[in-house]
């Protein structure tokens, strides 16, 4: 096997994929803003992404907040700075951990489900059937999922912010012996609107990425059950990597403000 040929093929395949995702992105975005709109399907996706993800996001947030309080206390106590625990917990949760962890959890739950559902529709000709029934598959399948992803992730992250901070509060007050009033005052004093807003902006972008990757990989899955399995894996892996990459980019942008 010629290694140069292999590198060449991989490079072409990479740019081919980037091009296809860009075209898919453009078409999907266009259909999000042009009628007809499928309100019933949008409602179903809002519930699927928002309501049914609440338990997993809530559990992730509370344990993250709890462990964050414990770990930051372990570090800060060495410098007699344990008073900073409340500040670290609230800033870490709102700016970073809630959006990223909620994004990753929803990616595993929703991105995989989208890829599997649309992928199965693709390999069983259901997407072709939609077209023959005068229904644009992008409007019917992709647009509601993208819109629901963008709308629901920020709401989930807002809930995760509250639960995560509450987790830190529980450990700090009931295990580490902090004064509850002082802890809440420090949490409130340090928090600025931009901390929350930056997390919500991240969440909206992550929601879009999760839905985009789920729909893209599902839509292009081929080859029966194996193809659908590969699409599901690719949707979760690519969404997770993109979440981490865009997390850095958005953080960098907010640093500049």
């Amino acid at each position: 096997m010629n290694p140069l040929a292999s590198i060449g093929r991989t490079t072409i395949s990479f740019f081919n994929t980037i091009g296809r995702i860009s075209l898919f992105f453009g078409r999907a975005l266009y259909h999000c803003f042009t009628p007809p709109f499928y309100g019933r399907l949008l409602g179903r996706q809002l519930i699927e992404i928002g309501y049914y993800s609440l338990p997993v996001v809530g559990l992730t947030a509370i344990f993250t907040g709890m462990v964050l309080a414990l770990q930051s206390y372990t570090g800060f106590v060495r410098f007699n700075a344990e008073g900073a625990v409340a500040s670290v917990v609230v800033l870490s949760i709102t700016r970073e951990l809630a959006p990223v962890l909620a994004g990753l959890m929803v990616s595993g739950r929703i991105g995989a489900a989208m890829a599997a559902e649309i992928g199965t529709m693709s390999v069983t000709e259901q997407i072709d059937a939609l077209t023959t029934l005068s229904t644009n598959p992008f409007k019917y399948l992709v647009a509601p999922r993208l819109i629901a992803g963008v709308l629901m992730l920020p709401l989930l992250v807002l809930v995760a912010d509250i639960i995560g901070v509450f987790g830190g509060y529980l450990v700090s007050v009931y295990k580490l012996g902090f004064n509850p009033t002082v802890y809440l005052e420090r949490t409130w004093d340090i928090l600025e609107p931009l901390d929350v807003v930056s997390g919500l902006v991240k969440a909206a972008v992550f929601g879009f990425l999760i839905s985009l990757m789920g729909c893209y990989h599902g839509y292009h899955s081929r080859g029966g059950a194996k193809g659908v399995g590969a699409a599901t894996t690719n949707a979760v892996v690519s969404a997770s990597v993109l979440i981490l990459a865009f997390n850095y980019i958005i953080t960098e942008l907010f640093f500049a403000i």
Partner: protein, 260 residues
């Protein structure tokens, strides 16, 4: 004397290839208005690709596909939507939507494509299910609860739900036992006559082709190599057709053992 009606569908010099594999190689075909044309041919000869090109699911490299004198090649979605409003399609495995009930599947084109209210669409769907021999109690079931024959019937009900001018059938009897296959054939003939629709069927089931067709065309290596009335099929004088309709391994058609 009346002038000859133009064909409902006219395909000229159609070319389609995937990479270096040529699937359609200058295919020509005319489907007269109100007639039932069946395309026969072996696996991998381009039957399904032809159908997908006509439906706009694939784009040909070259050639034209005229439906009611309108070239659909290169049409954008709004233009294509108006053509698709005239079309019904029965897929090989029915392609019913898993997430919807049977009646919602049948009524899908009415609700989403024509904007008919759900209550009215439900009534029409139940009528169409009755037309294909299924009771109203089937309407509330999920497609996963149906047998293969029932799925085909529901697929047929969905295909005729909007009273289309053109209906496509992709291997309508594949996967069914001979009796159920014949039931589906009878239903197709009955419903198509009732609607007065133009139909194009692709199949390699000769019993089905003989029953459904007014005209048969045989596709081989991406071209129509013979076309004529169904009554002429046994006297076509074409060695390829003779080998195919008698299902002989020996003859001018050499099947690739390996996938191409």
């Amino acid at each position: 004397m009346m002038a000859d009606k133009p064909p409902k569908i006219s395909i000229k010099n159609l070319h389609k290839q995937f990479g270096e594999k040529i699937v359609l190689n200058g295919l020509d075909l005319e489907i007269p208005d109100g007639q039932s044309v069946v395309i026969i041919g072996g696996s991998g000869t381009g039957k399904s690709v032809l159908l997908k090109n006509i439906l706009g699911l694939l784009s040909p490299e070259k050639g034209s596909i005229l439906i009611d004198d309108q070239d659909i090649v290169g049409m954008n979605w709004p233009q294509r939507e108006s053509i698709l409003q005239k079309v019904g399609m029965l897929f090989q495995n029915a392609a019913l939507f898993d997430s919807l009930t049977v009646w919602e599947n049948v009524a899908f084109g009415l609700i989403e494509g024509r904007g008919i209210k759900r209550k009215k669409a439900h009534e029409i769907a139940i009528d169409k299910l009755a037309d294909v021999g299924l009771g109203s109690d089937i309407g509330s079931l999920s497609p996963s609860e149906l047998s293969g024959g029932m799925r085909k019937r529901v697929g047929l009900a969905r295909a005729i739900a909007t009273d289309p001018e053109i209906i496509f059938f992709d291997e309508p009897t594949t996967g069914l036992d001979p009796i159920m296959g014949d039931v589906i054939n009878d239903l197709i003939v009955d419903r198509v006559k009732h609607l007065g629709a133009t139909t194009l069927t692709i199949t390699h089931d000769m019993a089905s082709a003989r029953k459904i067709a007014d005209k048969i065309a045989m596709i081989y290596k991406g071209k129509i190599i013979w076309a004529g009335p169904v009554t002429d099929i046994d006297n076509s004088g074409n060695d390829f057709v003779n080998q195919f309709i008698h299902g002989r391994a020996d003859g001018p058609i050499q099947m690739d053992v390996r996938a191409g």
